[in-house]
């Protein structure tokens, strides 16, 4: 399998190449110590600390798992903990997301839900048995009892994700945190809201599920200006984070808010639970991304635009020959330029064409594109970047009682809030792209003042 590692010194000097060069000069993908991980018995060269999914992708391995029913091949799609494609067993622990688990020397990574391996799973026949769908409402009643029983017991054995861990899990004591305001999500909006809250004199706890702050800015392939300087997204985000820390905000990275109640919010930070009791909760947790609906859209080698940009940040290009398509998005142009800057051949669709189907048996080897099925033609490529409009992550605010309403402009649901970030729950606020109408850029200072008013006076309205 061909290496997909980028030679960071060979990046072209054109304008987008310059951004990548700045990125690599600031945070080199080569910075981590070289190490070796095991994947299904094979040694893979990796860099200490990088996500395992990228170590594997860098070594040309893109099929990591199999789907639950059809045993279709799957691989990382989002690279940010939003899908199921990268689930693997790591050091005897099932269901680890390879895009979030860091590489360490000697780590043992195994595929699950497959026999004998994710690359070659004989249970794939299930997929061919059911050419359209798996109708569990009628399947069992159509056959006689014996065959039904056999199928049931087979299904029971094969269903589920992974097998039990080797060791019982050890959960350290939870940490309890009391604060005035909890900010969930440290993308650009969360960073500025949290900073403004600290400026209002509130005690602030800010949690971010990724191991870094900055969200889309961090993954962008464009310049950002901070304090009159032109910086790459990673450096700009780290500057913002440093300001937050200097302002006394308690920042928790790799910390996922999983559930929120009136009394508190459950956050999982690496291997420990936090119970955060905050007077006010502010949700700035942005959007989900997906690749959209086309034939075999779940094939390994199909990525969101964000994932492909993130891979570049870690010094990995998703393919040698990449189809880049999707809803109109300036980020797609920057991504295409950046992929070219690292020597990949980039294909784009022409006006009126769309992606109809990804082709390939265990990972992408081509794409069927055209205006319709009759005019379809095939492009040879080893990766497809397909982006669709981002949709608000309204779930957490929804658990807190904030109504998720139709956002007809974006054809999605979003958390309902006014322009000051206030919701129908007086202690819950939302801002940024998760909010209705995608109120971004919000006036973070105004949101912070609403929160302060609530915390100090107890009531906004």
């Amino acid at each position: 399998m061909a290496s997909r590692r980028i030679d960071v010194r060979a990046v072209s000097k054109d304008p987008t190449g310059q951004v990548l060069r700045a990125l690599y000069a600031y945070a080199s993908p080569d910075a981590g110590a070289p190490c070796t991980i095991e994947h299904d018995g094979r040694s893979i060269a990796a860099r200490e600390g990088e996500p395992i999914a990228l170590s594997l992708l860098g070594a040309g391995v893109d099929t990591l798992s199999r789907s639950v029913k059809f045993h279709r091949p799957r691989g990382p799609m989002c690279l940010r903990g939003n899908c199921e494609g990268c689930l693997v067993r790591v050091d005897g622990e099932p269901n680890r997301m390879a895009c979030a688990a860091p590489a360490r020397d000697g780590r043992e990574v195994r595929s699950q839900n497959s026999f004998p391996s994710a690359q070659l799973d004989v249970l794939r026949v299930t997929d061919w048995f059911f050419p359209k769908q798996f109708d569990h409402h009628h399947l069992m009643v159509r056959y006689g009892t014996t065959i039904n029983e056999v199928m049931q017991s087979f299904a029971r054995k094969m269903a589920g994700l992974g097998t039990l861990p080797e060791r019982p899990a050890e959960a350290p004591l939870p940490e309890e945190i009391d604060c005035d305001a909890l900010v969930v999500g440290l993308g650009p909006v969360g960073l500025s809201v949290a900073l403004a809250l600290a400026g209002e004199g509130l005690s602030v706890c800010a949690v971010e599920e990724e191991p870094f702050a900055g969200g889309l800015v961090r993954d962008s392939l464009q310049w950002h200006s901070r304090d009159g300087e032109r910086l790459c997204g990673a450096e700009a985000s780290d500057r913002d984070l440093a300001k937050l820390r200097a302002a006394g905000v308690s920042v928790r990275l790799s910390a996922s808010a999983c559930a929120t109640f009136d009394d508190g919010t459950i956050v999982i930070q690496s291997d420990r639970a936090l119970w955060v009791r905050a007077k006010a909760r502010v949700f700035t947790n942005g959007c989900h991304e997906s690749v959209g609906a086309f034939g075999d859209n779940d094939l390994p080698g199909v990525y969101t635009a964000r994932a492909a940009a993130r891979a570049l940040r870690y010094g990995v290009r998703v393919g040698e020959s990449v189809l880049v398509c999707g809803d109109e998005d300036p980020a797609l142009d920057a991504l295409s330029d950046a992929l070219s800057a690292v020597g990949a051949k980039v294909h784009r669709l022409t006006e009126g064409e769309r992606l109809l189907e990804a082709t390939g048996s265990s990972s992408v080897s081509g794409a069927l594109v055209g205006r319709d099925e009759r005019s379809a033609h095939k492009i040879k490529c080893d990766a497809i970047v397909a982006s669709t409009s981002r949709t608000p992550a309204f779930e957490l605010a929804g658990q807190a009682g904030v109504e998720a309403a139709q956002d007809l402009d974006r054809q999605c649901f979003a958390s309902w809030a006014d322009e000051l970030g206030r919701t129908q729950r007086s202690d819950v606020f939302v801002a940024g792209s998760v909010a209705h109408g995608g109120r971004s850029p919000v006036r973070e200072s105004a949101v912070a003042r609403s929160v302060r008013d609530y915390v100090t006076k107890g009531r906004v309205r």
């Binding site: 359209k132 119970w275 779930e395 658990q399 998720a404 649901f413």
Partner: protein, 106 residues
């Protein structure tokens, strides 16, 4: 074309399956979820909810007024860690809150 279009990757729910469910009368998003099982897997609907809602909108004319009820946990968490919270979280109170919230559901 023989390719499957996956709307919900986690539970292997295809476009054909969702269309079939809509034809068989599942015209609201909650019923569609229960019938097909979309959104009940690892990612809890981060990818598929909107995809299914848009297919439904294309068939019945418009996007549902509200999405499915979001329930915790929104992100997978080990049971051991939930158990570790034992004393910190007043389970009784949390349970009673959920109950009163559920009563408010339509």
């Amino acid at each position: 074309m023989s390719a499957k279009v996956l709307l919900c990757r986690c539970e292997d729910v295809t476009l054909a399956e969702v269309e079939h469910a809509i034809e068989s009368g599942q015209h609201d998003i909650e019923s569609l979820k229960r019938f097909t099982g979309f959104g009940t897997g690892w990612c809890q609907g981060k990818q598929c909810l909107i995809a299914c809602a848009r297919v439904l909108a294309a068939r019945v004319g418009e996007l549902p007024l509200a999405p499915v009820t979001p329930r915790p946990p929104v992100h997978p968490m080990p049971l051991g860690m939930l158990a570790s919270l034992g004393d910190a979280v007043s389970v009784d109170r949390v349970a009673s809150e959920r109950a009163s919230e559920d009563e408010g559901e339509r």
